[in-house]
Subunit: 428 residues, 2 copies
């Protein structure tokens, strides 16, 4: 990246390098992000709450000779001390929180500076908030981590926390043209986060580079950040996941994913056949049933006290799905999901990475819907780590098209190493 750019345009990794080298100060970095937010927020509307003390907190830390402050945003279903948690509704009490989520506390200890809370859809489901896609304000940013994706894409902050129950990290990241990463289920703590469906709820990362994903992953795991190495593509075995819902993807999206597969093969990666169509189809249906049943309980407070204030899409969507399940059927569904996870683990012994669309197409030209979630649901329930890479754009609208990579359960390092190699190849 050119030396003359604004600090807010830097990745966190690059900014930290410059701070360590004495070429940038935390204050200049945070102020640049703050100015960017001030300039762009009226259009993008990525934030539900802005921390009025962000700049003075940075100054205070600098005075006390702490390490650098890393400006970040947090999806507004996650508790951060001193800030309200509104969850995309207007009926919750806007009282500042006094105990924050485990991952937030860990990030704060590591020097993260919370610039504010980012817009979420209603209770993390589908009814959209006010956020717009920075690439074209008439297009949806995706959801439910709408504000986190838009804020990172628009250079307001280098990193945000999002969460995924169905597609809520991958889809908005793909629509906004950034990197979105959902780790292996359970890898990051999710205390202090509004539950939607605990069997699949996962905390994820929005970033613009793989190094930044690795940086925040290391922080969240309380491990020492290390540079993410390229994996030699000639060592990679990959599969093209052209099983349903592949047929529902737009033609151009299918073409770019096939182009990526061809490019990987051209770089020496070995394409293998992976026969998991039946498992994926069944996981998507199990996801609908399990997430619906669990959602109805997780939001019982809102359902019993504020039902009339909830959107029709919430009441007639996931809540209705959940009523197809009762307490006798539920453990059977959970057992079946565990069986399918074991079956996928066997399939992944023969392949490193699966390549798939991140969504059916680029962000639709609408603010009424956050788009289709079918390409992520199976992996949310299976618990595999996934990432979306901003490798292509639509020929007609120039809107980003994301490519989703999927690795075996627990193979997050491999996923990031392959992602780094692909990003390097596409940027060179």
């Amino acid at each position: 990246m050119k030396d003359s750019c604004e600090p807010c345009e830097l990745s966190a990794t690059e900014a930290l390098h410059r701070i360590a080298a004495g070429k940038l100060t935390s204050m200049a970095w945070v102020e640049s992000c703050w100015d960017r937010i001030a300039a762009r927020e009226p259009d993008v509307q990525a934030w539900s709450y802005l921390n009025p003390d962000a700049v003075t907190q940075t100054a205070a830390r600098t005075d006390q000779r702490h390490g650098p402050s890393i400006p970040v945003g947090v999806k507004d279903i996650i508790d951060v001390c001193g800030m309200p948690t509104m969850m995309g509704t207007d009926f919750h009490d806007p009282v500042p929180v006094s105990r924050e989520g485990g991952s937030v506390a860990i990030m704060r200890e590591a020097g993260c500076l919370f610039m504010g809370k980012t817009v979420t859809t209603e209770l993390g489901h589908r009814h959209p908030g006010p956020t717009r896609n920075p690439h074209n304000l008439a297009h949806t940013p995706g959801g439910s981590s709408s504000g986190s994706a838009a804020a990172v894409a628009d250079f307001m902050v280098p990193l945000c926390l999002g969460t995924q129950t169905t597609a809520s990290v991958i889809r908005p990241a793909a629509f906004c043209g950034i990197v979105g990463y959902k780790p292996t289920y359970g890898d990051f703590d999710k205390s202090g986060i509004l539950a939607n469906a605990p069997t699949m709820d996962t905390l994820g990362i929005m970033a613009r580079t793989i190094d930044d994903v690795g940086l925040l992953r290391a922080i969240l795991l309380e491990e020492t950040p290390q540079a993410i190495a390229d994996m030699a593509l000639s060592d990679v075995k990959f599969g093209l996941l052209n099983v349903p819902p592949w047929n529902t993807a737009e033609p151009e999206t299918r073409r770019v994913i096939e182009a990526l597969a061809d490019d990987l093969a051209g770089a020496g990666a070995r394409q293998v056949d992976v026969a998991i169509g039946d498992q994926v189809t069944r996981l998507i249906e199990l996801h609908r049933l399990i997430s619906g049943y669990e959602f109805g309980r997780s939001i019982a407070y809102e359902r019993t006290r504020h039902l009339d204030e909830l959107s029709a899409v919430l009441r007639e969507g996931r809540l209705a799905d959940g009523r197809e399940v009762d307490s006798r059927r539920y453990p059977d569904l959970i057992r079946e999901a565990a069986f399918l996870r074991a079956s996928l683990a066997k399939a992944f012994t023969g392949v490193d990475i699966l390549v798939s669309p991140s969504a059916a197409g680029p962000a639709p030209a609408s603010l009424e819907s956050t788009g289709d979630a079918a390409f992520s649901a199976a992996w949310s329930l299976a618990g595999n780590p996934v990432i979306t890479l901003p490798l292509f754009q639509a020929t007609d609208t120039a809107m980003p098209i994301g490519c989703q990579l999927i690795a075996g359960f627990g193979e997050d390092e491999k996923l990031l190493n392959v992602s780094q190699a692909i990003m390097t190849r596409f940027q060179s």
Copy 2:
């Protein structure tokens, strides 16, 4: 039960029958519980917060022709609107909560009246609170759901919520001589509850009868309560779980569990051999590692801000265990636990119920420790439903000795039906 007893001595099921028959009013029931609390709380110290509006809330509901109010207590790591959540510490902000847990909201909707919050150990771990065992005030009530077990045992309320990560429902219920029930993992919603180790944290029920367990279970599942039928013991296949930690149980505890097995066989139940010793041993070790790792993240807020205010047993116990695990080892442990769950599912195809001690012995004569957890840890991680029944008492001290029954994953109805048959047999 004799007609002349105080209403607070009734099971909830019996009280509701009397209310339906016009022989008891909600107000008389709630006032009787309230009076019992007032009389006994100085000795037992089961409550960390008492709802000053309990009686007037009952009157208001009665005026509005709602159904009856069911007086209950809630472990003080669970959020209840209008009450503080202190989690067994003195440094949390005692601000009334404005959004409550999903299970609490569901119970409120069904007519439960929250009498207050019950004492928990520090953050749900081992450092004890002030609660004493109602059977002998010099003995521990067990933990971490100490106040919930003591309040139910002492007839202050018929039902309480507890939670179990290791043994925190089964052990205090056994020590206090009541029924404690941990359902199949995931059966009850656990939003709004302090996380300890999400892979095994489970909401459970403290009661004095199986019917009351069934009543609150139905409420939590939003299903219609039905009487719990006895399962014919001649149809039951059971196993005696005399594998480690069996050898660490006190001789009298081993004798009474063997006596229960003999009695079941005498009633026509068929005893079968179940060879799962290796799985149980490994699950206990996996429980130690996984719960330690997850606990360190779940309480990151307290660990990063209040470390000096935490007890030595917390810092040197579970937190230290967690440091044996890192992010590379953790998914391997999770995968191994899933494999063992599948292995246990196969074992349970040949047996309905396993019989085991609930703890190594009756409640120790000490208020410094909450006792040994080894007999519950495996089942907390495996996710099987378990119950402790108050069938015996120690010959020297007359302290209760609980018997633990374990059923297959999802076999909660069978567990309650067999429990009902055994309770009926022992009470007749």
